[in-house]
């Protein structure tokens, strides 16, 4: 997947949730959104991107991906 586009989309999600007063909750919500709405190949790509340093990603998004990696990782088929 075109990673620049995914980074942009992920950041948009981050921008919405970062406004929540409870930052821990925000991190969970970002991850949950990715889990619920992103096709596994998109999630795989963003995880890989984070693992490579996560260039361009908002900190809160990178944190969400990192901390919720297990949730986000698609089940092996």
């Amino acid at each position: 997947m075109h990673i620049e586009n995914l980074v942009k989309m992920a950041n948009q999600i981050g921008q919405f949730f970062e406004a929540e007063p409870d930052k821990d909750q925000a991190v969970k919500d970002i991850a949950s959104h990715l889990k619920r709405f992103w096709d596994p190949r998109m999630r795989t790509a963003i995880i890989a991107h984070v693992e490579q340093g996560g260039e361009g990603l908002m900190e809160i998004v990178a944190t969400a991906v990192r901390s919720q990696r297990e949730l986000l990782q698609p089940a092996q088929k």
Partner: protein, 955 residues
Amino acid sequence: MACQCGGGGCSTDYGTPARVSEQLVEVEVDGITLTVPAGTSVMRAAAEAGVQIPKLCATDSLEPFGSCRLCLVEIEGRRGYPASCTTLVDKGMKVHTQTPKLAEIRRGVMELYISDHPLDCLTCSANGNCELQDMAGVVGLREVRYGFDGENHLKSEKDTSNPYFSYDPSKCIVCNRCVRACEETQGTFALTIDGRGFESRVSPGQNEAFFDSECVSCGACVQACPTATLMEKTVIAHGQPDHRVVTTCAYCGVGCSFVAEMKGDQVINMVPNKDGQANHGHSCVKGRFAWGYASHPDRVTKPMIRDRISDAWREVSWEEAIQFAAERFKGIQAKYGKDAIGGIVSSRCTNEEDFLVQKLVRAAFGNNNVDTCARVCHSPTGYGLKQTLGESAGTQTFDSVMQADVIMVIGANPTDGHPVFGSQMKRRLREGAKLIVVDPRAIDLVKSPHIRADHHLKLRPGTNVAIANALSHVIVTEGLVDDAFVAERCETQAFIDWKNFVSEPRNSPEALEAATGVPAAEVRAAARLYASADNAAIYYGLGVTEHSQGSTMVMAIANLAMATGNIGRLGVGVNPLRGQNNVQGSCDMGSFPHELPGYRHVSDDVVRGEFEQAWGVTLEKEPGLRIPNMFDAALDGSYKGLYCQGEDIVQSDPNTQHVIAAMEQMECVVVQDLFLNETAKYAHVFLPGASFLEKDGTFTNAERRISRVRKVMEPLGGYGDWEATMMLAKAMGYDMHYDNPSQIMDEIARLVPTFHGVSYDKLDRQGSIQWPCNEEAPDGTPIMHTEQFVRGKGKFFVTQYVPTDEKITPKFPLLLTTGRILAHYNVGAQTRRTSNSAWHPEDILEIHPHDAEERGIKDGDWVGIQSRAGDTVLHAQISTRMQPGVVYTTFHHPFSGANVITTDNSDWATNCPEYKVTAVQVVKVSQPSEWQQRYRQFSDRQDDLMKQREPIKAQ
């Protein structure tokens, strides 16, 4: 339903509208005693007693007028002969409708009418369906003693300027029904009476041709006309129909009920159904008249296949086409994995068709790569309302607007996009409801005859959330919150978080003024008006959803409604105006890649288990690709096959060049449609689709109303879309079988809790049903969230305003926003193939005089519009509807390439494209853009390939 016609000419006309009153009055009509609500006319009371009083100017869709003087009656104890249409019942009144004196007067009046009317009944297009003719019979007119050599209008010239109906003044009886229908029903006021006395004649505009007048061709006047004065050209051409079938319009989300008037299997006329619960007998130019596309010569009625898109098409049998498609799909899955194919369904298809396609994808393709065109219009509604209120649907019934005291319209243009509801809203506004319009453009609702917005928040495109936050700021800081409602109905902590957030100074109207361009005082006044109303309702459209913050804005709207207690009863609510006929339904049917039918996430093991059991397969629990993701995956090489039913993604999706690049990567594209649309030009398999006249099924409109679509003719291609889907599933190795769409609905009802009570039988009985319809609500649910929210407590969300990335720069100094126009529908595939094009032959660019002046652009000039994504050329129209710095166009014509310019920015939550904001430059040019020239070449080539198609071998 005793009669399938439901208003097409066989139901009772009670003469005057029904009145509602708790007070009942007992009256006696011709010896029959009956009780009616106070305020009922004598005429209506009589009709309810089964007594038909002769009438011409009265009809129960219009307020009484009292001009024809046929309906006079005698009332004991009263002098003279009062008109029964304008006389209200009174306690103990004794009415006589037939006396020798009345017969004399009525005959006298009829003799006068006929003395100025052509005696051409036998050759008249209204013959057999003419109220004047009927009344002449009823009153027993036998001669016209005045002769026919007196003054008359028999030589008046006919006006045939309207493409769909003609106006013959010689047949006009000046009953004013057309004028009143245009005023009361449609609210356009395009008709008047020219002159007075004997000279009186109906005049469109300033006594000009209908086509040149303010007429919007809604057909209300034609419908109201009791004679052949205003007459559909199809009826003139073909004569009166011989049978009628009630069905549902396939245009916008209003979902008007229509009576298809047929002669054999030929449609003669489509007339709005008086008993239609969404439209109450009203219609617009599209539904009423623009149905000719269904029999347009461009219809492709034979399946076709080709190996490559550069090849000519080959007509084949259905079996061969299906087999070809299935093999290719299976081949792709074998080579690239099971997730490499998917399907797209259309909001133009029936619920049953949508349900089957998602079932095909889930059960036969084995993945969740199914999406609907609602993705690109109302997906944020689904997300936002589900999050806040708990259900992905509008909260109200359309009729609720008649109880609203303040109406806020945000990013919607009802008079063009949802004309029939627009007319109802205008009626309420004329009754005195206040209006707030939030729109970058001065839409008709801002100012048109008898309508004027109290506040027009003319914001900069892309700043919806800022406006919503500013409105919320005022409501919270000025103590306008409905605290009791919030305390009882909403989650406390979420409310406090929201309250704290919107109270921040950065969310004040003053602080946001620079971003929105709306004066703070105007925002404050609007907020006070909305929050202080007894009943305030919000109606919104794609101007809300089609933004990078579309979902945020939907949530912000829900916040506003919850904070002010404007939810859960008549006259209030949050009301998305759905673009296409079945947007609501296609979403309900599980056409999203993350949701099973009934908005249940695919990861929900219990729900998935139910479907797995019902369908006998194992279902994927991970979400699939959304439409824009499909394009990305295609360019990425992981997505190679697409089944596209009834949707033209190439024309309608943003950043055309990106979409085309993706299409070109596909190894198998199956398009099922009426026409060889833009997408089909990139397809390998073409399956003939069925028009709504050939469909059997249901549509669900913007108020969750499920209505029957009834087949009035056999599918031209031989199979219904649902049958094709079934065949494809079977060819893919998954056997699903239904004898008819009713069985599909039965399956839906079994699997979807909000549909448990829905069946075709019940639909036939009730006319329509608003879901949820189940054990708790057997008759359906007009108003949602009445006692509690579907999610339990309503949840406020913090809605931070994040400016879009699409910013103006010196290179792209203007913002382009897009929308639709009355005459056309979506990509125009249907309406362009009707005479509607007479009103709107091409898409044009509206530009403010100031911006035009700066660029030396004059009205009608060719202008180039360039964005970061691409460029195109349109004719310019200078218009003060625009604000300086904002330009506007529609997207109804493929050659316009409006989506060549739009970018692939999208809503953060749903990927709904940001159609409404594109930074552009506009310059005067002399020829079409390079893209347009390329498009023309490609399109011409594809047309040639179509023309060169190899016909099917004789069986």
